[in-house]
Amino acid sequence: MNWALTGWVFIGLGIVLIIVLIWGIKVSPAFLRTLPFTKRLIESRAETVECGRYQQIFLGDNLLSQTYPGLGLSALGALPVFLDGETLVDGNSRVSSPSGEILVFAQQILQSRYQDGFSEPLAEDLVRIGPYGPTPISFIAGLLPALTRQPYGTLVLLGDYGPQASLAVKAVLDQGGRVFAAAGSITSQAALFLNVRDILLGEEVFRVSEVMLPDPQKTATILVEDILRVLLILLLVIGAGLTMVGVL
């Protein structure tokens, strides 16, 4: 069996399906399952703004992860969704990561959001970049005092990060804040499973952007993922049978 060819077929099929579902057949978000995570996150963010508390959006430790490809990109893709009007003018939000490349991207996203409808004096220092430390553990070490410095209402964890995020989670929960984790890596899922009620596991993390702000493009790509998944399941079952009889 030519595995490399199979890989290219998957990539090609993904491209074709995305194009067809975005520019051909329009799909509705109603086809997708709802996640309770979304509603609670929206509520929590609203409460946080209303109560004058702070929110922290953590974008993960790495832009590129070898085992979890796409987590860093997923976090950056979701960031604009969190920069809604209320957040942009609220001034109590922080976007953070230990990774320089993520911070540079985040800064660019922030700038473009503010340039969309804010004058320069207004935009100054509203949503701030939070570079608490340059390595994953030094970042968490720096984040802990920052979390106790101000009352935090919402902590959103995105991207690729490790079990040390539990420390930040506890710091926010101790203040009565709420934590929302899109936990991609297995270690972070295992550590946060215990004390984060609103957690997205595994592949679900790629839905953060879509569930928060559905649009036909995002829905289409999620459906493409579904189609590829079903295809893969079928291939695995058929492949197992063929291997058993010695064809593969």
């Binding site: 109603a30 995570f37 790495n62 070898q66 085992t67 203040q175 009565g176 890596s185 609103d198 702000l213």
Partner: protein, 548 residues
């Protein structure tokens, strides 16, 4: 055909839709509309009522109640929020509606909360003093003057059917039919230019109608609404209150409203009532930390460990096992030929230095002196950690390949198929040197299963004959075990469970045994806490369903 109207964008969605097909907003709490049956529609949703579809808990409440009590009508009934003006229609209401009313007045949850807020607002208004009313009256008079000049013509001529019109010929015996007939204004058709009127217009019209007073017979059916606005000199917003309009003795006028306007009015009225209602402020709960629980747990964990470590006693706990993985690593190292070249990959952070030194010490101490050691680091602090560990174990590296940014290089490697010597050509110097070397054995020290996995996958293809061994932390172990099973990895030691059983200078002696026992005590404490957590939540704790 009933359908759902999106509260955000106004798009029509099928009844089965969970979220809006246009904007994606949740339709979970939206009440179905039926355009084909405008009468029913009006009766259900277009009532000029404070109790609008915005109240999220009402549909669920109604559904629940309908299941228990046979419904007399299919729609959403009007509720007398003020509790006044009991009309004859009320007597004919079904039992379930009475239950709603009762609950709405008595309960704080579901519909009751909103109802009680509105009632509270109404009660507070009745206590307003006369000065406020005078202010209001003068203000509204000004509004009238302004708006009469600007108002779109034709609205006056389109008066609705009288509220007290005769009962229709068509026999509708149920109470809801009578309610609909009685509130005949709702059967009016949207006027063509209705949408063009601004909020101010209909506010004035609304005020005129309300101040005109409702026919007494209808008071219990159609909620009398009186919007009063008070301009505050020191505030940028105006407080609008809902109150008793019957006290205003102004000539009655008919109000002609489109459906859209009524919906807006409902929404506004509810919002106004809700805004002006005193409500308990959700206190910001700081310091919810349960100190005592944490203290007890920390005391047991740290106290237990300290007791085992420093008491000088050994307890009846099992000795550390000698695992096959650990033995395989030792054998692999011991079997290295004379003048063999061994590659050591340092891929861990300083936090894990303690554990990895414990794990690596037995293996590195067993290295024959003739072995040439090459070192490469893939974590930022790796070069320093490598120097430190090798110096302590008195191993002098023959070649130091320096620091290789694992994330960047590793990912490039994957992308370009690093697992071939050809790919190494275009890699930067450090990486290409790595893949040009011919090693007789590779030892990877890692705290991270993911990065170790990439090393395994790349190196096992690049040099399939070279024995590859893993010295990793306990947290990385479970995810790397399959590579041992599949033969890609010769041996693996994960955490001190695998290392403690091996005899070395570091792991011998009472101190090593006490550390091992302290480790056991820590694990047993966690097991105990997990079980305690289960026991404490045997009945409760089920806070959610299957899906996260």
């Amino acid at each position: 055909m009933p359908f759902l109207i999106c509260p955000d964008c106004g798009a029509e969605n099928p009844l089965t839709a969970e979220i809006c097909q246009v904007c994606g907003a949740s339709l979970a709490d939206v009440i179905p509309m039926d355009m084909d049956n405008s009468e029913a529609d009006d009766g259900e949703n277009d009532e000029f009522t404070l109790f609008s579809a915005e109240d999220k808990d009402l549909p669920e409440l109604l559904n629940d109640l309908k299941q228990d009590h046979e419904p007399a009508g299919g729609g959403l009934p009007e509720i007398d929020l003020a509790g006044e003006g009991e009309s004859s229609e009320v007597d004919d209401t079904p039992e379930w509606l009475d239950v709603i009313r009762k609950r709405a007045h008595e309960e704080l949850d579901a519909a009751g909360e909103m109802t009680q807020r509105i009632v509270a607002a109404q009660e507070s208004l009745t206590r307003q003093n006369e000065e406020e009313r005078a202010d209001y009256a003068s203000w509204i008079e000004e509004l009238r003057k302004e708006t009469r000049e600007e108002a779109v013509s034709g609205t006056e001529g389109q008066e609705e059917e009288p509220l007290e019109g005769p009962a229709p010929e068509k026999a509708k015996k149920d109470w809801l039919s009578r309610v609909r007939k009685a509130s005949g204004k709702l059967e009016t058709h949207d006027e063509p230019n209705a949408a063009s009127r601004n909020l101010l217009d209909w506010l004035v019209a609304l005020e005129e109608e309300q101040t005109g007073g409702m026919p007494s017979g209808e008071a219990g059916v159609t909620q009398p609404v009186d919007l009063r606005q008070r301009a505050h000199a020191d505030e940028s917003t105006r407080e609008v209150r809902v109150g008793d309009g019957a006290q205003q003795a102004v000539a009655p006028k008919r109000l002609d409203l489109s459906r859209e306007e009524r919906e807006q009015a409902d929404l506004l009225a509810t919002t106004i009532a809700d805004e002006s209602t005193a409500r308990p402020v959700q206190p910001i709960t700081f310091g919810r930390r349960r100190w005592w629980v944490e203290f007890i747990l920390a005391f047991f964990l740290i106290g237990g460990i300290c007791f085992v470590l420093f008491s000088g006693r050994l307890f009846l706990l099992p000795e550390p096992p000698v695992t096959s993985g650990g033995q395989a690593v030792l054998n692999s190292v011991a079997d290295l030929p004379e003048d063999a070249e061994l590659l050591l990959v340092f891929d861990y952070q300083p936090a894990f230095a303690g554990e990895l030194e414990w794990v690596a010490a037995p293996v590195l101490e067993a290295l024959p002196d003739s072995v040439k050691v090459s070192v490469i680091s893939t974590s930022a602090s790796g070069p320093l950690l490598a120097d430190s560990m090798l110096e302590r174990l008195e191993i002098i590296p023959a070649i130091d390949l320096g620091y290789l940014p694992a994330e960047a290089f590793g990912a490039y490697g994957l992308a370009a198929g690093l697992a071939s010597t050809q790919a190494a050509e275009f890699l930067p110097k450090g990486a290409s040197e790595l893949f040009e070397g011919e090693f007789h054995g590779i030892l990877i020290l890692s705290d991270n299963a993911e990065r170790a996995r990439v090393w395994v996958e790349q190196l096992s293809v690049l040099t399939p004959e070279t024995p590859l061994n893993l010295l990793v932390t306990a947290q990385a172990g479970p995810m790397l075990r399959p590579y041992v099973d599949s033969g890609q990895v010769t041996g693996m030691m994960a955490g001190i469970s695998d290392a403690a059983g091996l005899e070395t200078s570091r792991t011998q002696g009472p101190n090593a045994s006490q550390r091992w026992q302290a480790y056991q005590v820590g694990l047993l404490t966690l097991i105990g806490v997990l079980i305690l957590g289960v026991l404490l939540n045997l009945r409760g704790g089920a806070t959610q369903g299957d899906d996260i």
